[in-house]
Amino acid sequence: MIYLLLLPAAIMLILSFWSVEKTRFVLPVTSLFILFPSISLFVLSKPYSIWGNYLVADDLSAYVMLVSSIVAIGVTLSVSTLSLHVEISNSAYSKFYRFFAIFWIGLTISILANDMGLYWIGLETATLSTVYMIKTNNTTMARREAWNYMIVGAIAISLVLFGIILIYASAKPILGEEAMKFSALLSSAKEIKSPFLFEIGFAITILGMFIKMGFFPMNLWLANVERASFYPIAALFSGILESAVIIGFFKFTKIAQLINPLHVFIFVFTYTILTIFIVSFLIYRSKDFMRLFSLSGVEHMALIALFWAAGGVFGALLHFGAHAFLKPALFLSTGILESKGKYKIAGALKGYSGIKGKIFYFLTALFLLSIISLPPSPMFFSELYGFSSMIQIAKENKHLLLMIGAIVLLLVLLSIIFYRFVEIYQSMKYEGVEEKRVVYGNEVLALLVFALSLAGLLTPWTFEFLRGIS
């Protein structure tokens, strides 16, 4: 299985050294093969050992793997016409695929890792490979942001490693070298003799992950990086790289909840509310699509973390899936709307004619309205389930009034974001002048992949599967 999982990336890596003219359409096709091992992970009985006790697939990792595979296919499909929207050299195009292959290897390792250290190695590999992907955009801003990403990303990742070492130190006296394994920690968490050390390690790890996801106080760094990158790279950041971070959050939180669930909830609750508070006002003031969607990504990751910490596994996973499909779709749409770097929000949705143009118009509007949780978007349901899990945890801890107050505050903040998105949507649709715009077949196909996947999240089968993940 491990060969099947890594083979498409290996082929892509080799092909990236060939002439771009020969491989321009072969490379996206290669990415299709990513999907087959991800689907087969679902069929196998779990937990399924992929590489000893180091890489193990369970329902959670199989789900994240499948979602990431679909996003990867959608993004690579759209890359083949990237040169028609932005100025990109052939060598930069090859380098994108070369580093995408390394990125995919790192990502696969971190998603399937049953070992904290291996998880970190995968995440670091994926992070480092994206640094160079940012630089495929040959501008001063991209150069500066690549360095910024390298430095801030390195600090965030170092914090994660720092926390992992403390967690390992807390559990090593009872588990030995097995203390690195998520499964061993999960089964013996209650026996850890120094829970304080574990919790310190957990808090530092989560802090590193939150910085990496653009949470408070680093709310703008990711938005700047995504603004400076080409749109498929921004889509990779929001759709896949953040998935690798959040699965780590899920795994670490599950263990920490066995030690002291209330501490975990209070820590995550305070942090995410603070993040959403700041991000909602930043969204209100944002003046371009990329920053808008990037900041909205931070808001949604905060909601996912909050729902998960409140025990709303179903709500968190549904929200995660919906966000992973919607955000890359919106970034790809942005790339088309901003073709050749020229764009205005007013009238941005006007001027798309023909079948492809109309489908693009419809899908972009659908994604825009879905991201603000209008029903029947999966986000509407996930937020309902997420908020109900918050009420449930408050009932158990007899802090119901406080929680209702917090949910009201959250709803006020979300309504600010809602208002801004609706305002932008109306401006795109009704204001401005109409200009003829072009959209290509592969881009529409990529957006259709995302739309169908989004619809797939609403099927009873998906609901049943997600409910089965504990």
């Binding site: 070992d115 250290g117 640094v131 630089k135 490693l161 720092f162 403390l166 690195m180 050390l197």
Partner: protein, 197 residues
Amino acid sequence: MINFLIGFFLATLIVALFTMRLYRLILWYSLNSLSLALLAITIGVNIDDNTMIISGFFTLVLKALLIPYILKRASLQFGLSRQIAPNIEVHHSIILIPALLVFTFYLAEPITNLISVNANYVAISISSLFLSLLLMIEHKNIAPKIIGFLAIENSLFLLGTTATNGMPMLIELGIFLDLLMAIVIINLLFKQEEELV
């Protein structure tokens, strides 16, 4: 011996914070890595842990020799500025660094109370982590920031060595591999800077 090496580790990092020349900074990083390598080898020999001895040798080759060599070569090749005056004045640093050391020892106290062996070493590694962050913050140039990042990695390695008596071999190797990849990426970034100029 261990006390001497750990003291030397901290001293090299403190001196690095006052350094105003790039090659000197690379040298201090190399010495910092050397003390780390010798420390891992010594602890490994004391507790009869072959994994730690091997990772000590890896540290010696990779961090004390190879990475400083690559960095120096890159600085020559890409004409990096050798003047790297820190943003924080020296007379301020003289007060700031001991204050930071005292603060981190105080901050690490609850953690060190929970660790039975090498508790002071854990406090020193946490202090080193903060000093490395200071190294990153106090410089505008990119090269010292990279060395700051590498020093953070050294501090974490020291923490892993002292707080846990070493991490599993596979993880140590993976971290080394990632560090090498980071150096390759840094080189590529410098190279592209040069092409643009």
